[in-house]
C-alpha cells in the first residue's frame, strides 16, 4: 500500500503539473497536445530517442546515487557538479596517456581515475574541514565545485591538457577506451551497453552498501543521529569524510562514464549542471538508490523530450525550462494530493455528522 502510494503520488503530481503547464502553454498560443506529444515522443518515441533518454539519465542516476548517499549520511553535497568535472578530467587525462595498456585495463584505469579524483575532491577539503572544523559542507562543496570547473577550464584553455592547435579542448582519449555504442536498436544514440552496465552496477552497489553493509549502517546512523552513532562506537568524523568521499566518487564515476561513453574528450562547455539536477533526482527518490533510477529516467526524459519539443513544436528552449520547473515544483508538492483527499473526506464526514447530532 505504502509502496503503491509512493509511486502513484509523484505520478499524480506530475499530472497536475502537466495540466498546469498545458494551460500555460495554451495561453501562450501553442497547442498543448502537440507540445506534450513532442515531449513524449522525443523521449520515448523511437528506439533512438529512448537511447538518448537513457544516455541523458545515466549521469544523473550515477551522480544522484552519490548525492542520495550523502543525504542519508546527513550531508548536503551541493558541489557534485565540480566532482563530476574533476572525475571527467582525470578520466580523460588517463584516457590519452598510457596508451600502451590493453584496452580493457586502460578503460578500468580511466574509470578508477575518475572515481578517485571525485572522491578526493569531495573527501579531502569538504570532508576533512567538516569533520574537524565543522566547516559547512554546502559552502565547501560549492566552492570546490567552482574551483574544479575553473581548473578544468584552465587545463584546456592554454593549460597542459589543451590539444595542439587553437581550440580549447583536450586530445581524444585512446580509441580503445571509448565505450562501443549499441550497434543495433538504439541506433544513432550515444548509448553504450557498458555505460548502462556501469550505471546498473552503481545502483546495486549503492543500494547494497547503504542497506546491507555495516558501513551503510554506520553512515545512516551518523546521518540520523550523530550522537547516538558516537555512542554506538561509530567514528563519526571518519564517516563524515567517507560519506563525502563516496558521494564524490559516484560523481567522479559519472564524469568518467560520460567521457568514455559520450564525449571522449574534455570540451569547453561546462554547463551541464548535471550535479544540480542530480540533487533533485536524489531528493525526489527520497534518497533511495533504487528509486533514483526512476527519477533519473524521469529527468533524462524531460531533457531529451524538451530538446525535441523545441524541434517539433517550435517551442523555445526557455519554455521547456518553465515546464520542467513547474513539474519539479509540483512533484515536490505531491503530498498535496493526500492532503486534499483528507480534507475532502473530513468535510464530508463533518457534513454527515452535523445533521445527526
Amino acid at each position: 500500500m505504502k509502496a503503491l502510494q509512493s509511486i502513484l503520488l509523484p505520478v499524480a503530481a506530475s499530472l497536475v503539473a502537466v495540466v498546469i503547464g498545458g494551460i500555460l502553454v495554451a495561453a501562450l498560443g501553442y497547442n498543448p497536445v502537440s507540445v506534450y506529444g513532442s515531449l513524449i515522443s522525443g523521449a520515448f518515441g523511437n528506439l533512438g530517442n529512448l537511447g538518448n533518454t537513457l544516455t541523458a539519465s545515466l549521469p544523473l542516476i550515477i551522480i544522484g546515487l552519490g548525492i542520495a548517499l550523502s543525504f542519508q549520511s546527513g550531508l548536503f553535497n551541493i558541489g557534485a557538479d565540480g566532482q563530476y568535472w574533476i572525475g571527467a578530467t582525470a578520466a580523460v587525462w588517463v584516457g590519452y596517456h598510457f596508451t600502451s595498456l590493453p584496452g580493457w585495463l586502460h578503460m578500468l584505469f580511466c574509470l578508477a581515475a575518475g572515481m578517485i579524483a571525485g572522491a578526493i575532491w569531495a573527501g579531502i577539503v569538504p570532508g576533512l574541514t567538516k569533520a574537524f572544523v565543522g566547516a559547512h559542507e554546502v559552502i565547501t562543496t560549492m566552492m570546490m565545485s567552482y574551483i574544479a570547473i575553473l581548473f578544468a577550464r584552465y587545463l584546456i584553455e592554454g593549460g597542459p591538457m589543451q590539444e595542439k592547435g587553437y581550440i580549447p579542448q583536450s586530445p581524444l582519449i585512446a580509441s580503445n577506451t571509448q565505450f562501443p555504442y549499441f550497434t543495433q536498436g538504439f541506433m544513432r544514440s550515444q548509448l553504450s551497453p557498458i555505460s548502462m552496465a556501469i550505471a546498473a552496477l552503481a545502483v546495486i552497489v549503492a543500494w547494497f552498501l547503504l542497506y546491507k553493509t555495516t558501513l551503510g549502517f554506520s553512515l545512516r546512523s551518523v546521518g540520523l543521529n550523530p550522537r547516538a552513532a558516537k555512542y554506538a562506537g561509530i567514528r563519526v568524523k571518519l564517516h563524515i569524510v567517507l560519506a563525502l568521499a563516496l558521494s564524490g566518487l559516484f560523481a567522479g564515476l559519472a564524469g568518467a562514464v560520460q567521457m568514455l561513453g559520450v564525449d571522449h574528450q574534455l570540451l569547453d562547455g561546462f554547463s551541464s549542471n548535471y550535479g544540480y539536477t542530480a540533487i533533485v533526482v536524489a531528493l525526489l527518490a527520497r534518497n533511495n538508490p533504487l528509486a533514483v533510477v526512476i527519477s533519473g529516467l524521469f529527468f533524462g526524459a524531460l531533457t531529451t523530450g524538451g530538446q525535441n519539443m523545441q524541434i517539433a513544436s517550435n517551442v523555445p528552449a526557455s519554455l521547456t525550462n518553465v515546464l520542467t520547473g513547474l513539474i519539479i515544483f509540483f512533484v515536490g508538492c505531491e503530498r498535496i494530493i493526500p492532503q486534499v483527499i483528507g480534507w475532502y473526506r473530513r468535510r464530508r464526514s463533518l457534513r454527515a455528522q452535523t445533521p445527526a447530532s
Partner: protein, 337 residues
C-alpha cells in the same frame, strides 16, 4: 545601422553563383532548416543569435523555408540534437560553434543526404558539410586602428593621457581571442607605446561582471573599452557610458546600445553566412568545404564610425584594409601576452 541583414546578398560567400536570387524566390522549393545552438543559446548576444537572425531573414525573404531551432543544454546534447534534425528529414542543419565540430563530423557521416553548416570551424573532406570561418582578427585589427587613432590624437572629448585601452574578454577561446589579437595588433600599429589591458570574465551572460571589469580598466586609465564577451560585454559598454568614456562593439553594430559611446563595432557576418548557405541549399548550389569570410568578401568588417571623427580615421582604416587585402599586413589570431 541595426544588426542588418536587410542587405542579404552584400556578403557574397566565395563560391555561390550570386545572381539567380530572383528566379529562385519565385520557384523556391520547400526546404527545412534546423539550427542547433551551442550551450550559449540564442540569448548569447553573439554568434548563436546572429545565426538565428540570418535564418529568420532567410525565412522572411525566401519562400518555402521552414525553420526550427534547438538550444543545447550541455555538450552531450550536440550529437542527439544534430541527429534529431537529420533524422526528421531536414535539408540543412546549422551547427553554431567550433565546439560542435566533432559532433558534426560524426553525424554528417551517418546522414549523407542532409547538408550541414558549421560556424567557426573548418571541416573539410565531407561532401555534405560546409564550414564558415571568419577572419575576425581582421575586423579586430580595423577596430584597433580606430581606437589607436582616437587615443593617440585625442580625437574625442574626455580622452585622457594614459594612452590605455581595455579589452574585456568572455573567455580565452579562439572566437574571442582572434578579435582581441587583431585589435591589439591594429592598436599598436597606430600607437606602438599604448597599453592594451586584457581581462577575461569567464562568462558570457554576466552583465554585472562585464560592467565591473570595465570599471576596473577604466580606473586604470583605459578610456576605450572593447568587450568581446556576448551579454557580459553589454555591461562593459554601459559601464563605459556611465563613466563617460568610449567603447567598441563586437559581432554586430552595437552603437544602438549606447549612442555617443560606441565608436564603432567589429563585425562578423554570421548572419550572412547562414543566409547564403540556406539559399544555396534551396538553389541546389550547396558546396562543401570551407567558406572563408574576411575583409575581401565583407564577411567581417567594422560598423560606421561615431560622428565627429575626422576623415583621417576612415582613411587610415581604408588604408589598413587595403594592406590586409593585399597581404602586406598579416593579422595574427593569437593574443600577445
Amino acid at each position: 545601422a541595426g544588426c542588418g541583414t536587410n542587405n542579404s546578398s552584400s556578403g557574397t560567400s566565395t563560391q555561390n553563383s550570386g545572381g539567380t536570387s530572383n528566379s529562385t524566390s519565385t520557384t523556391g522549393k520547400t526546404i527545412k532548416v534546423g539550427l542547433v545552438t551551442d550551450t550559449g543559446g540564442l540569448n548569447d548576444n553573439s554568434f548563436n543569435h546572429l545565426a538565428y537572425v540570418g535564418m529568420q531573414e532567410a525565412q522572411k525573404q525566401l519562400p518555402g523555408i521552414q525553420t526550427s531551432v534547438v538550444q543545447s543544454q550541455s555538450e552531450s546534447d550536440y550529437v542527439p540534437n544534430l541527429s534529431h534534425f537529420a533524422q526528421d528529414g531536414y535539408n540543412l542543419v546549422i551547427a553554431v560553434g567550433y565546439l560542435m565540430a566533432d559532433a558534426v563530423q560524426q553525424v554528417a557521416k551517418e546522414y549523407p543526404k542532409t547538408h550541414f553548416l558549421i560556424i567557426d570551424d573548418s571541416i573539410t573532406g565531407i561532401p555534405n558539410v560546409a564550414s564558415a570561418i571568419f577572419q575576425s582578427q581582421q575586423a579586430g585589427y580595423l577596430a584597433g586602428v580606430v581606437a589607436g587613432m582616437v587615443q593617440k590624437d585625442h580625437l574625442l572629448k574626455n580622452i585622457n593621457n594614459h594612452n590605455t585601452v581595455g579589452v574585456v574578454g568572455g573567455q580565452e577561446i579562439p572566437p574571442v581571442d582572434s578579435y582581441i589579437a587583431g585589435f591589439q595588433q591594429g592598436f599598436h600599429s597606430v600607437d606602438p607605446t599604448g597599453k592594451v589591458l586584457i581581462e577575461y570574465t569567464n562568462s558570457f551572460n554576466d552583465e554585472a561582471a562585464g560592467s565591473q571589469y570595465a570599471q576596473n580598466e577604466i580606473a586604470q586609465g583605459a578610456d576605450i573599452i572593447f568587450p568581446v564577451a556576448g551579454g557580459t560585454g553589454i555591461g562593459s559598454i554601459k559601464a563605459a557610458q556611465s563613466a563617460k568614456v568610449y567603447a567598441i562593439g563586437v559581432d554586430t553594430d552595437q552603437s544602438y546600445l549606447a549612442p555617443g559611446t560606441v565608436i564603432t563595432s567589429a563585425i562578423k557576418r554570421v548572419d550572412t553566412s547562414v543566409f547564403d548557405t540556406i539559399k544555396a541549399v534551396q538553389d541546389g548550389t550547396f558546396k562543401s568545404g570551407v567558406n572563408n569570410f574576411d575583409l575581401s568578401n565583407d564577411g567581417v568588417g567594422i560598423a560606421p564610425l561615431i560622428s565627429g571623427l575626422p576623415s583621417s580615421v576612415m582613411n587610415a582604416v581604408n588604408q589598413a584594409k587595403q594592406q590586409i587585402l593585399s597581404g602586406k599586413i598579416q593579422v595574427s589570431s593569437t593574443v600577445q601576452k
